[in-house]
């Protein structure tokens, strides 16, 4: 019996039958990992066994070379500053205000941060993807149920359960999603695109979302099977990713200001919150490792040699704890950490080189010494943290937080909190 995972039938996907991750060499030093990220001698998307391929195959993460550059160029329009500002202030801000108002209405403000964030970021996912009509709590719940089932298979590499079973469920969920949400949204958008082409509608009236962008560039996407649209959407679930690391940040920042009360006043400072976020991501990277394949013989500065065709695992989790770079207390959360070597403020959180995460600025804002202007987006993570702390978020010691033992990502499945002040409510929709 073949051990191929389901999901290839009727698509242009080929089963990827390279070695399993456990059979590849692992790089664990910070400098080795950065060198491979940046090296032209290695590519991403060069095959290898990727169990998530039926769910996200031929998505931007899995492409290399010209196709990858073309896809990034097409999708970059969604990551321009004006779009990031819009997502922050017009989408996530009002969602946060709405959910905070609902949670604090009873005067107690006790909730679980996971379902809270899930509801907050539902609007972002719909706005980013271009899905319409998810505008009641019941509709949100139905939508998020199918999205959760899809995205689980998209990150099946980190799951400890049966990959075949998970991917099968996700393929079924993708088909349900495509019929119930994607098809009607695509039909509406295609009609608008046709109206623009016919001169009946001004281009500025087109929706600004991933689905519209993909349909307007259908010539690029036609290189693959038609399911590439749903697979690309699955890959881009911005709320899904942010939800995974915000609870760690809340826990670590909360503990930090308890031990360092001099920093408590800085909980309103997005620059400080950004540093905290990056330090937390160093300890809990969103993706534990990445795979690359050598396309030519090469030797790293450390002396490690790879021949063309060799696979290698970049162990971001261990490299981010490299004491040679980050000091002896690497496993401690310290937002004021000064690395021993000159390293980028973002560390390895978003990768480096051609596959640097397209959503890095969307998540963190501009990570530079430049002074941000009043209209510059601050980044969805610092923005969200600021609003949570303005609302007095605190870990709820009456209930214990639960880590997910089903996967290797170290994410929470439950994170009880209390909002002790409603100070953030009035401001959450503004800058």
């Amino acid at each position: 019996m073949s051990d191929e995972l389901p999901g290839y039938e009727g698509t242009s996907l080929d089963p990827l039958t390279g070695p399993a991750v456990s059979q590849m060499p692992w790089l664990r030093s910070y400098h080795d990992v950065v060198e491979v990220f940046r090296s032209k001698a290695f590519i991403q998307g060069g095959g290898g066994r990727r169990d998530s391929a039926p769910i996200t195959g031929y998505g931007v993460l899995a492409l290399a070379g010209r196709d990858h550059f073309e896809r990034r160029r097409i999708e970059a329009v969604l990551f321009r500053k004006d779009m990031l500002r819009w997502f922050e202030r017009e989408v996530v801000g009002p969602s946060l205000a709405r959910e905070l108002a609902a949670v604090t209405a009873d005067g107690v403000g006790r909730t679980d941060l996971l379902p809270f964030l899930r509801a907050v970021f539902c609007d972002l996912t719909c706005s980013f993807w271009g899905i319409d009509g998810v505008d009641t709590p019941d509709a949100q719940d139905r939508f998020l149920t199918v999205v959760d089932e899809m995205t689980l298979g998209g990150a099946v590499e980190w799951e400890r359960g049966d990959h075949r079973e998970i991917v099968t469920q996700s393929v079924v969920a993708q088909r349900r999603f495509a019929a119930a949400y994607l098809a009607p949204a695509a039909a509406r958008r295609q009609a608008l695109i046709d109206a623009v082409a016919a001169g009946r509608l001004d281009e500025s009236e087109l929706p600004r979302d991933l689905l519209t962008v993909m349909l307007r560039n259908s010539r690029h996407f036609e290189k693959w099977d038609s399911d590439v649209y749903v697979r690309e959407l699955t890959l881009f679930a911005p709320g899904d990713t942010i939800m995974r690391f915000v609870p760690h940040m809340v826990a670590e920042i909360h503990e930090w200001v308890q031990d360092h009360p001099e920093d408590r006043a800085r909980l309103d400072d997005v620059g400080f919150l950004r540093r905290c976020s990056l330090e937390s991501l160093r300890l809990h990277p969103a993706s534990p490792y990445f795979i690359r394949r050598a396309v030519e013989d090469t030797t790293l500065a450390s002396g490690l040699h790879f021949s063309a065709g060799d696979y290698v695992v970049l162990d971001v989790t261990t490299a981010s704890l490299d004491p040679e770079v980050f000091g002896a207390d690497v496993d401690r959360f310290d937002p004021h950490r000064v690395p021993r070597h000159k390293v980028k403020p973002v560390g390895l959180a978003f990768g480096e080189g051609p596959h640097t995460c397209i959503g890095a600025a969307m998540s963190m804002g501009e990570v530079s010494a430049r002074r941000l202007g009043p209209d510059d987006p601050v980044g969805l993570v610092p923005f969200t943290l600021r609003e949570l702390f303005r609302a007095g978020v605190t870990t709820d010691s009456a209930e214990g937080a639960q880590l997910n033992s089903d996967n290797a990502r170290g994410e929470f499945t439950s994170f009880p909190v209390r909002f002790t002040t409603a100070r953030g409510l009035a401001s959450a929709g503004k800058s």
Binding site: V34, E35, R38, F69, R72, R73, A76, V77, F79, R80, K81, K344, P345, V346, F350, G351, E352, G353, P354, H355, T356, C357, I358, G359, A360, A361, E366, V367, S368, A369, R370
Partner: protein
């Protein structure tokens, strides 16, 4: 008269190489582990659209393209 000024924040540049592919006359990748190199910090105005695309495509927002005034001639 306005002229273009291109800068790269070396602290955040992730060397994706996108800018090099879009405007090879202005950007180049380094041979070492440094940031992307600027070949021409004051490129001709007719590259403005390509430079704006490079600025928007940079995932770490390391590139800045600004219109600045022509420096006054001395003497």
């Amino acid at each position: 008269m306005d002229r273009l000024e291109v800068t790269i924040d070396p602290l955040v540049c992730a060397c994706t190489g996108y800018c090099v592919q879009i405007v090879p006359a202005v950007f180049d990748l380094p041979d070492d582990d440094g940031p992307t190199i600027i070949l021409d910090p004051h490129p001709p105005m007719d590259l403005i659209h390509e430079l704006r695309e490079a600025e928007n495509l940079c995932p770490t927002q390391a590139i800045r393209v600004e219109l600045t005034g022509e420096p006054e001639q001395e003497g």
